[in-house]
């Protein structure tokens, strides 16, 4: 584990930590973003109304539609950006292939990056990544995961600067056209960790089949992480079994929700996606009423970011149906696990 004291923190302590952070974050978004000040005022709540974790239900839900409402060329972030331009490290467009007009844009600061790097380091170590590995990362040029995991340079903290490894960067937008090159590199170097998506992994299999190659022999993967992002399907049990048979190795699923700066990943128990609750309040809400559903009951996954400086989200409705489990996992981690439908 990367941060054992946090990853195995008993539930009561975790709740206390979340409450403390939520108090501060709710005040931060109320003070520094027009978007949430207006939203809270309309709902008749104040940051001070949050006293314990269950109070989070008093605060209004945030949907994509809300985030788009006030976007103008004068304020491209629709009142959601809490920092001045000078503090911005990067601006990120919507991750979906099809964008809306106006677009939903996100912002990261240096601090945002550092926290995300910490979250992803925990995830990767949980997946079995070790210092000195060769890691092949298939992502688009500017996706969060690309600039958080690979250490392009010594000046910024990334997973690579914390736990040095050799990276093989693959551009995924052009993967359809570029599949042979990626397949060659995988064959040559047999990476220890491949971060891919279900679709790309299938393309690589096809590419190998053209020359009658066997992925099990040619790639010899140890850990394959299948990223669930807009446009890429979730790794379901049937697909996992197929990959186990054709590729060999351990296949894990990862959720990547860029709007909330949120990542969650399975451990080797393959029993739900671990989220980091010291960074998020994870809820499920009823599709119709918007009321929170009990743990174990189906609902729409809703995320509150407890640390972001740039464009924080409070109770962001992701649109994915999920069940939650707050019981500790067999791997020893106490944080909540997400089961996507």
């Amino acid at each position: 584990m990367w941060r054992k004291n946090i990853e195995t923190m008993p539930r009561e302590e975790l709740t206390k930590l979340q409450e403390e952070k939520a108090k501060r974050q709710l005040k931060y978004v109320y003070d520094y973003t027009k978007f949430y000040r207006k939203k809270f005022q309309e709902a008749g709540v104040k940051p001070e109304d949050f006293k314990s974790l269950s109070d989070i239900r008093k605060f209004p839900l945030t949907t994509k539609e809300d985030m788009k409402k006030d976007v103008t060329p004068e304020d491209p972030f629709g009142g959601r950006c809490a920092v001045p331009w000078d503090k911005i490290w990067g601006v990120h467009n919507q991750p979906e292939p099809e964008v809306d007009d106006p677009p939903i844009l996100g912002v990261t600061t240096e601090y945002d990056r550092e926290v995300l790097v910490d979250h992803l380091t925990r995830h990767l170590l949980m997946g079995g990544f070790a210092r000195g590995d060769i890691v092949e990362l298939q992502a688009s040029q500017w996706e969060g995961i690309a600039f958080l995991v690979e250490g392009h340079f010594r000046m910024r903290r990334t997973v690579q600067s914390l736990m040095p490894f050799t990276s093989i960067p693959i551009e995924s937008t052009l993967f359809l056209l570029d599949a042979p090159r990626a397949t060659y590199l995988t064959k040559f170097f047999k990476p220890d960790v491949i971060i891919t998506t279900v679709d790309y992994a299938k393309l690589m299999t096809q590419e190998l089949e053209k020359e009658k190659g066997d992925p099990k022999k040619e790639f010899q993967p140890k850990i394959v992480i299948h990223r669930f992002r807009p446009g890429s399907p979730l790794l379901d049990e049937k697909t996992r079994e197929e990959f186990k048979k054709t590729w060999g190795g351990t296949h894990l699923s990862m959720i990547d929700i860029q709007y909330a700066n949120f990542y969650a990943m399975e451990c080797h128990q393959c029993n739900g996606h671990h989220a980091w609750e010291d960074g998020f309040i994870v809820e499920t809400v009823d599709q119709q009423t918007g009321e929170p559903t009990a743990p174990g009951e189906k609902g729409v996954l809703t995320l509150t970011n407890l640390w972001a400086e740039g464009t924080p989200v409070i109770r962001y409705v992701t649109g994915h149906t999920a069940k939650l489990d707050t019981n500790p996992c067999n791997c020893g981690r106490t944080h909540i696990r997400i089961f996507l439908e």
């Binding site: 331009w85 601006v91 964008v99 040029q141 500017w142 392009h152 000046m155 050799t166 990276s167």
Partner: protein, 451 residues
Amino acid sequence: MSEELDKFWNKKIETMPREELEELQLKRLKAEVSYAYHNASYYKKSFTEGEVTPEDIKTLDDFDKKIPLLYKDDLRAERSRTGDPFGGVMCVALDERVKVINASTGTTGIPSVFAYTNDDLITAVEQETRLKWMRGWRPRDRIYAVGVRWHGYIPISATGLDIINIVGISDSMYPLPHISKRHVLAMKYLKPTIIAAPMLALSSIFEAAKNMGQDIKELFSSIRFIDTGYGDIVTMAVKKRLEEETGIPPERIFDYGGVADPLWYFGDCPEHAGNHECDDLFYTKAYDLETHEPLPSGERGEIVVTNLFAEATPMLKWGTEDTGSVNTERCNCGRTHSRVTILGREAFAANIKGMRVFPADIENILGDVPGFTEWFTMLKYSKGPMDKLKIKMATDTTKVRDIEEYKSEVSRRIRENLGVDSEIEIVESVSDLPFVGHKVVKLLDLTKEAE
């Protein structure tokens, strides 16, 4: 800061007198040759076959004449012989000190593989920073960068965002013609000051903007510089067409390019008189295409590059297969480092009755033809010299009155400029042309398919 100081990122090096620069090159060259010879099995072998040892290299001239040339195909052959993906040029153990393994795009087939150590990255970033600063990138610029996570991109993103402290505006999609709406919107709302994008990406953005009814000149009104090239050759014709679309004059359109394997990149300065490279980090010369003899400054031949700093995969006398010239005269901008002008890939030149025609030649001619969208493919239909040039070109047919008349006008211009006959085929959209990766195929070899 005085204006003079603001011009350079590393003034001492960039304006170093030519003799001192060449002294420095020789010193580093000797060290790199010896390092490669003692650490890479490929060089030990090729030096032995060429009957040369590192001690024989006493002058730049010795290096030009004695060291064997290195081609992609040599490394491929070595790779299939030994099974070593690096083809025997890797000088360090493959552990965590190797930061990145990458491969060239493989436009011409199986990719060639190279790597960066941490120190390689640091030097590559120094190179990038100088080239970017020269093109006018400054702190707090907002850059809309459209690129891919291939080779050059790694030091490039680090430079802009981490060293010059530029704000990155990013997108998770590469602008191919059908998904460019997002790029138009991002530009409209975020008003970047620099756009860095290959030609194809730019024209995809133009196409999308037109479809959305967005005025392109207005969309580009916040842009200080267009940074383009990235593998395509940016001729004056291209710059003029970009000006027509965006209203940004050629002086504010910069060319940037490079060759991935030797980690070699170049770009043009505000004088726009050839692309500067970093001579303290590379040793570049043009070689005669037939005799493989080094050519004097300014003459046309194959560009051969030697990397003077690589720790992981040094490339000594890397034949780029690009034809062009290297000019070592001092530039009006004050820089003493040489300027390269690239015409095109030798493999991508068409041989018409002995006359070599490069896509860049065609582009310079077609640039003024109304309705031409800048995308075309030359067809190679015979192994030997061909009778006439066959070209498929994407044309905005709404701007053309009579197709037949238009074709013969294009043929006439080609004949006038190059003295060769040609046959023209018109297609409506760039997507009707053949693609490899994100690049339009400039020369399509039909003889290979026939086999």
